[in-house]
């Protein structure tokens, strides 16, 4: 029931994830942060099987951190995405696979370009200008097809993001509650209040 989406613009990537934790028909939590900060310029939002998500996200978080400590520099977005995909792909054919869907946003300082990756629990990886997961994706993707602009400023990007959130709120039977929004750009990662 969770919903997450992301979009890139002129020098930034925005990720938004719903903060409601649901179990069966009950809302258990209204302030869950499903976007992890993996590095100075790398963020990851996740959804899926409740136990798996946190376990997997923390595993990823610590290993990316370990790489940074060992090598004195952070993994670039494309490398992080490839490594993450491999973890999921290997997990898929193990005895108990993680059921976690991921959006990875990062800013590559070497090329000064933002990157957004869509990844599902099977380990399908693709680099996209905008992406969505969960039931919300059925409404949000068509909206982004129409309104996404790769050259949009942060304000324009946030405007598009608000449109997406409003549309999900309007059309989806279950309300998603509040969203947490994080942006990554040349200055690093920030939380944005909509």
């Amino acid at each position: 029931m969770e919903c997450q989406f992301g979009l890139s613009g002129n020098g930034y990537v925005l990720l938004a994830a719903s903060t409601t934790a649901v179990r069966s028909i009950v809302k258990m939590k209204h302030d869950q942060d499903n976007i992890k900060v993996l590095g100075p310029q790398l963020i990851m939002s996740y959804s899926g099987e409740p136990g798996d998500t946190i376990q997997f996200a923390e595993y990823i978080e610590r290993n990316i951190r370990l790489y940074q400590i060992r090598n004195f520099h952070a993994l670039r977005p494309s490398s992080a995405a490839s490594w993450l995909r491999r973890q999921l792909a290997d997990s898929l054919r193990s005895r108990n696979p993680y059921a976690v869907n991921i959006l990875l946003g990062g800013y590559d300082n070497a090329t000064s370009k933002p990157h957004l990756y869509w990844m599902d629990y099977l380990g399908t990886l693709t680099n996209q200008p905008y992406a969505a997961q969960g039931y919300g994706s059925y409404f949000v993707l068509s909206l982004l097809d129409r309104y996404h602009n790769p050259e949009a400023s942060l304000e324009e990007g946030l405007e598009t993001l608000r449109r997406c959130i409003d549309e999900v709120e309007k059309r989806l039977v279950v309300s998603q509650g509040k969203y947490i929004v994080k942006v990554v750009d040349k200055d690093g990662v920030r939380v944005i209040e909509l």
């Binding site: 995909r85 792909a89 869509w118 099977l122 380990g123 693709t126």
Partner: protein, 204 residues
């Protein structure tokens, strides 16, 4: 096999081969990406295409790159298309009872010192090879592709004519398939160069 969608076709011409794929990546009926390539260069005259489960396409691309590199280092020469076909077959059969869900196509030219013969082959998901003299098809539109190719293909086509034939075959077949489409990429391999073109199709 139907989960992500996608189709590939390869054809033999006169001293050349062509391989083409669509560009869609879906989740069942929902299209996720329209720039997902399924055909990869193995050497500069051999291309390998994989249709099926996208995660396995990506995993096997890495795995084949590793195995082909190991071959080149051990043998100190480039791999031949028919050797690659056997390598692909045995890699897939290794997972006989828990397979990778992909169907591969190999298209390439044999070593120029031995006359640069065109070569195509396909296999099923557990590595049963099919060496064809005319064309091979795999993917969600394989039934349609087979029909169109049967009607359009003729022997000894020159590179430009082969390009036209394979492009029309693919484009017209994927238009009748809900899981394939969103444009195509075509590689025509000739003894002195590879011509790669990206096509637009019915973008819906």
């Amino acid at each position: 096999m139907q989960y992500n969608g996608g189709s590939i076709v390869a054809m033999v011409g006169k001293n050349c081969v062509a391989i083409a794929s669509d560009l869609r990546l879906g989740n069942q009926a929902l299209t996720i990406a329209t720039d997902f390539e399924k055909v990869f260069p193995i050497t500069d005259r051999i291309y390998l295409g994989m249709a099926g489960l996208a995660t396995d396409v990506l995993t096997l691309r890495e795995r084949f790159r590793f195995r082909v590199n190991m071959y080149s280092i051990k043998e100190e020469r480039e791999i031949e298309p028919k050797t690659l076909a056997q390598l692909v077959s045995s890699t897939l059969y290794e997972r006989r009872f828990g397979p990778y869900f992909i169907e591969p196509i190999i298209a390439g030219l044999t070593d120029s010192s031995k006359g640069s013969q065109p070569f195509i082959a396909s296999a099923d998901l557990i590595g049963c090879l099919n060496f064809a003299k005319d064309f091979v098809v795999v993917g969600t539109a394989e039934d349609k592709l087979l029909g169109v190719a049967e009607g359009l293909w003729e022997p000894d086509l020159e590179p430009e004519d082969l390009f036209e034939t394979i492009s029309q075959t693919l484009l017209n077949a994927v238009d009748r398939d809900a899981f394939s489409g969103w444009g195509a990429v075509v590689h025509v391999i000739t003894p002195d160069k590879v011509i790669t073109r990206t096509l637009k199709g019915r973008m819906d």
